[in-house]
Assembly symmetry: C3
């Protein structure tokens, strides 16, 4: 019995993402696209823009990391099976008769399952990205972190340009200025796995994958169930910010985050949190200019 | 006699685009740039921005497809002859004394000839793009369609960024959200030639090139003469949209397109159509926020 | 004695930029970032966005030229020492206790020294860029000018996207529409060094490097001391514009430039000059629409 438990992380690390977990990733991604404001209108006005947007949600990490490594960003299209799978999910969720597919998949227990499985793919993407970066640049740990992060955080980091496809432009905010939880946790993951990769962390890779994934899934499911948007890193961040940058995060920011009710998975890859206050600030600053 | 007619498509498919057809393409492209609102002011304020914009119009397809395949987007600059040719055209059309070159080339019959010849280069670009994509990815037909489309639709797809060079930013619209006719017809061409390339269409390449080009030229010239902006695909699109996406295109969109009078070649590569209504909508949504 | 003087350019051209000159470049760049409006707020709100912005200021030329040549834009991250050096400078200038580092480095004589040394690195970057482009494309002098310019003008050319990282978006202006002095002088340098490289200029490379650098440093220091924003090229530009484009630069532009007081090094890499008038124009044109 103990032996089986001991082998669990190793077996887990050999799981294949294709097709079940990939499918869950596509579903969770397209669901979060569909719940963006204006997405349904775009799907009626221009199915091609909507499809392109959905692809950026599903393969954003791959596209971004390709761009960063000077590789063809269209490489993901060469994997015809994945693209067709993602396109089918997109089609069903946006255009199925009577919105059957959407209603089913946004039923909370099903949604929780998809969201949890999507988090599993995140671990695989981060480690994949780091290994890929390592094959290009030996021992360049900053590159490894950057590529791991880009691959894991997926479309989040390119959200400004994804929105542009749908005719939306919000320059006053981006995922670097106001990180959402998935982007933050991907960054932490990229740092951890890179440290493990250059033998700086005394832990085996499959164990780290196991525990990091469990952390991801548990946190995600808890956040969706309790609808609390506060990230579990908030206290650590505060301490770190105080130590490194000599300031306490301003109250307004904390309030801005707390004020917005996150209804489950719509917070999947992006917090729409401070945007209203952000644009209000923007408008205000324009007036005072 | 019959033999000669039979050989016509084959001979046609061996036509060299350089220099006559390329020249026509540059002229038609720079003319449509010059007729963009604000372009003449930019040409006085900053010749370099204007030149760069003109290059994006002339070589946009090449730049975009290079970016998509991870190749140097400046590769087109290495072909010094083409760049000098395009630059001469740009110089003559924007800065010739008394606007002689512009007045001559916008004389309707000359303009029709240039526009027709430009359409011929489109076919060559699409087939070139598909062959190039095929040399990178074997049998990845989605990539082949994407690259063929990018090469054929030229600067249209990157129009948002081309406008940015001239200090114009219209995030509320783009060529994916609201496809212009050249972008649509390039997409159809890319699909047809890709299907032919993977032996899915029982037709020889030179025949397809011949008939597709004739279709392009005839449609373009007809549209310029009748000044009707409605694309010949409208009924097919409606049927397809009804079958695939279960909805009829909203009336407002059709009206928006019909309301705008297209004065010949100013519609060359871009419909400015729904933009006014689009920005009006935008403003409205801002008010109601 | 004469022999020593004669060898001076040769010895000068063998100077190593790392670490002293690079350090000066990073300092001058981060200082000019810090003096951008809103940068300090960004540094409190999101250190990561601020760090990324600083990297774009320090390594902008390298990133842009990599993108243009289809090489990995993250390559600069592989040079861990440089990145750590730049990051330390960024950290000290933004977060040192009581702003000690910022106050020290913005003390005029120190600032002059940093600015002068930064100009020295510009020469090295331009020649490096041209040699790099030459290794890709033989005798493609347009590519060589483009890459040399991109490398030398650094972050200036991508300023729109650098600003976007900080949540600022000014589409109505860019460095092509309204060139700042460093961008102009880099373009001239790129043209000169390319002409030297293809043996069109009868001067040895080390001599050209020597005299170009002296010109850069003297002009820069003079401009910072006299606070006159008018570039020394203004008369040449006027003549050239008159000869080539048949017009005299409009008065409004000259006035716009003259009206804005440049307080020394805050004009380091970007003139904020005509922006106010530019946006005013924008607003006006919107009203009249």
């Amino acid at each position: 019995m103990e032996q089986i438990l001991g082998q669990l992380p190793l077996r887990f690390s050999r799981l294949s993402m294709f097709p079940v977990f990939d499918l869950a990733h596509y579903t969770a991604s397209v669901l979060s696209l569909r719940e963006e404001r204006g997405a349904v209108e775009v799907s009626r006005q221009s199915p091609i823009a909507c499809w392109f947007s959905a692809m950026l949600y599903c393969f954003g990490g791959s596209i971004l990391s390709s761009l960063m490594l000077g590789e063809p960003p269209v490489a993901f299209l060469a994997n015809t099976t994945s693209v067709l799978l993602a396109s089918s999910v997109w089609y069903l969720i946006f255009y199925s008769p009577r919105d059957l597919a959407y209603c089913c998949s946004s039923f909370l227990p099903i949604r929780l399952m998809f969201a949890g499985m999507k988090e599993v793919t995140r671990t695989w993407k981060i480690t994949g990205g780091i290994a890929h970066a390592h094959s290009h640049y030996k021992n360049a740990w900053i590159v490894m972190i950057a590529i791991g992060w880009a691959r894991g955080a997926g479309g989040g980091l390119i959200s400004n340009f994804e929105q542009l496809v749908r005719g939306v432009w919000k320059p006053e905010t981006n995922e670097l200025l106001k990180m959402s939880y998935p982007v933050k946790v991907s960054l932490i993951g990229a740092v951890l796995f890179t440290m493990q990769h250059i033998s700086f962390l005394p832990i085996e890779k499959h164990n780290l994958m196991f525990f990091y994934t469990i952390f991801l899934v548990v946190t995600k499911v808890t956040m969706m169930l309790t609808q609390r948007p506060t990230s579990p890193f908030a206290p650590i961040e505060k301490t770190l910010a105080y130590l490194l940058f000599g300031w306490q995060p301003t109250d307004s920011r904390g309030k801005g985050e707390a004020r917005v009710p996150h209804n489950g998975a719509s917070s999947a890859d992006r917090t729409m949190g401070g945007e209203t206050s952000g644009s209000a600030k923007m408008r205000h600053s324009k007036k005072t200019e």
